[in-house]
């Protein structure tokens, strides 16, 4: 049965570990007054390292089984997609590439995400019997993969353009805060394990976004909104294709942080960083609260009698 205390433990454990992994190298380098080049090398590993450590610890608290090979969508997401995305993030930071190569590398997780999550599922297979009214897998699969990839790429490009206008930390924070809301929606629709996976992801990302505020010269922060968006999209895909959250619910959860980041604000708010942050957080809170209220209502109608 879902246990709120375990969920809170997973969230805060992943946050704590991520902060430690992110900030400890900087603190040590500062104490030892190391050279700037060493400082730079340490930052390359700290962001993916802190997210990976947070996710591992959070999943451990939630007692996620680490089975190999991963058998279902949530295992493929946590064991292949999340590490793969972090490795790409690391590769982009570590080696000096041309702008084209960087763009191509950053697109790789977006292209792989739908296929990896839907791999081996009925969405990519032929129907089991003639009684199935769904489209045959051979026709439906390219349609599903294509539409998911196009949506994700559109969301990635929107996020990248928003990052140029708004602070990447604000955009990253807005997307990160949508992750637990997506998790709760998936849980309320009846998929507890899938929804709970959002907590380690949100905890570690939140710790990294907040931690980076203390490292003003960290250049890798521009990639954080992309990273958060990929994780949010993957989770929503699982919630929609394997759980019972509707396409509209998934689309509105994906769109909420982007809308909150895109809405033009009056100049007096934009001139002050905290003022802009507060207002955008407020917009996101209103959007998320409306969606969570709807999910809670559906839960009380459909699912609550089953738990009595």
């Amino acid at each position: 049965m879902p246990d709120g205390f375990v969920f809170a433990q997973a969230f805060f454990a992943s946050m704590g570990v991520s902060v430690l992994v992110l900030l400890t190298p900087f603190a040590l380098l500062r104490l030892t007054r190391s050279t700037p080049s060493l400082h730079n090398h340490s930052t390359v590993f700290s962001v993916p390292g802190s997210i990976a450590a947070g996710v591992i610890v959070g999943c451990h608290v939630l007692q996620f089984p680490w089975t190999w090979p991963p058998a279902n969508a949530i295992e493929r997401f946590l064991q292949l997609f999340v590490p793969g995305t972090l490795i790409v993030h690391l590769a982009v930071s570590l080696w000096s590439h041309t702008a084209g190569t960087i763009r191509l590398l950053r697109l790789l997780p977006s292209l792989a995400c739908p296929l990896l999550i839907l791999y081996g599922s009925v969405h990519l297979r032929a129907p089991l019997s003639v009684a199935d009214h769904s489209l045959p897998g051979t026709v439906a699969a390219p349609l599903i993969i294509g539409s998911c990839t196009i949506t994700l790429l559109a969301a990635v490009f929107t996020t990248q353009s928003l990052t140029r206008r708004t602070s990447p930390l604000i955009t990253g924070l807005l997307i990160t805060l949508t992750l637990p809301a997506a998790g709760i929606s998936i849980m309320l629709a009846g998929y507890i394990k899938g929804g709970s996976a959002a907590l380690p992801l949100a905890g570690s990302l939140l710790a990294t976004v907040l931690g980076l505020r203390f490292l003003p010269h960290e250049p890798r922060r521009h990639a954080l909104p992309d990273l958060a968006l990929l994780l949010l999209f993957g989770l929503l895909m699982i919630g929609h294709f394997f759980g019972r959250i509707s396409l509209l619910q998934a689309a509105s959860l994906l769109g909420s942080p982007l809308l909150a980041a895109a809405i033009p604000l009056p100049q007096k708010f934009r001139s002050r960083h905290t003022g802009e942050l507060r207002l955008r957080l407020l917009i996101l809170a209103v959007l998320i609260a409306a969606q969570l209220a709807l999910a809670a209502w559906e839960f009380s109608v459909r699912m609550k009698p089953l738990l009595a």
């Binding site: 007692q63 279902n72 949530i74 009925v122 019997s129 998929y191 507890i192 394990k193 394997f242 089953l306």
Partner: protein
């Protein structure tokens, strides 16, 4: 005019043909009759009562060799999506990944690997695949009485399996008020092909 020698050749040819056909005739081939069969289950609720359900879409075939039972085989495919507990909301919940995960694992399958004749039926050993996990199980399949009705040969079997969901990779945290053990009751009738 056929000579004695030719008659002998024809007779021995027919005999050889008959002998060759005998092993094939010994095994009776049947297909699962969905109209007169059912695969149902029950599981404990809060350890005080039983929740009952069934699978509405099942397919299968079996081959019975009454001379040599070890040559018999049984195969059953259950469409997990067809789970029906007379409560649509619960059925939707059972289809989700915390339970059957029917989008990832659309079928529950059994394929026999060893069959032994016992009094009143067969002892069947085979691979049972559910939720992407395959386990070897052994059970007593009672029945096997054959009748012919309206030109169709029919045979009936029944069995009861006790399976632990946790053995098949179901999420232990989702087991909750519904017991880990489920009793699967199979009553099936086969029609000759």
């Amino acid at each position: 005019m056929i000579t004695v020698h030719q008659s002998c050749r024809i007779f021995s040819g027919l005999l050889a043909l008959l002998c060759a056909a005998l092993p094939a005739m010994a095994a009776e081939e049947y297909v699962y009759d969905a109209v007169h069969s059912s695969v149902s289950f029950k599981a404990r609720h809060l350890d005080i009562s039983w929740i009952h359900g069934r699978f509405n879409e099942v397919d299968g075939k079996f081959s019975i060799d009454r001379e040599d039972a070890s040559k018999s085989s049984f195969q059953l495919t259950i469409k997990a999506d067809s789970v029906d507990t007379a409560n649509p909301a619960r059925d939707e919940h059972l289809r989700q990944p915390d339970y059957f995960d029917t989008k990832q694992f659309p079928t529950i399958e059994f394929q026999s690997t060893k069959v032994k004749a016992i009094e009143g039926g067969f002892e069947v050993t085979g691979n049972f695949t559910m939720h992407g996990t395959t386990k070897e199980i052994t059970f007593k399949l009672m029945g096997g009485k054959q009748i012919e009705s309206r030109g169709v040969r029919r045979v009936g079997f029944s069995t009861e399996l006790r399976l632990k969901r946790s053995d098949f990779g179901f999420d232990k945290n989702a087991i909750g008020p519904i017991g880990d053990e489920a009793i699967v009751i199979i009553d099936c009738e086969g029609m000759s092909k």
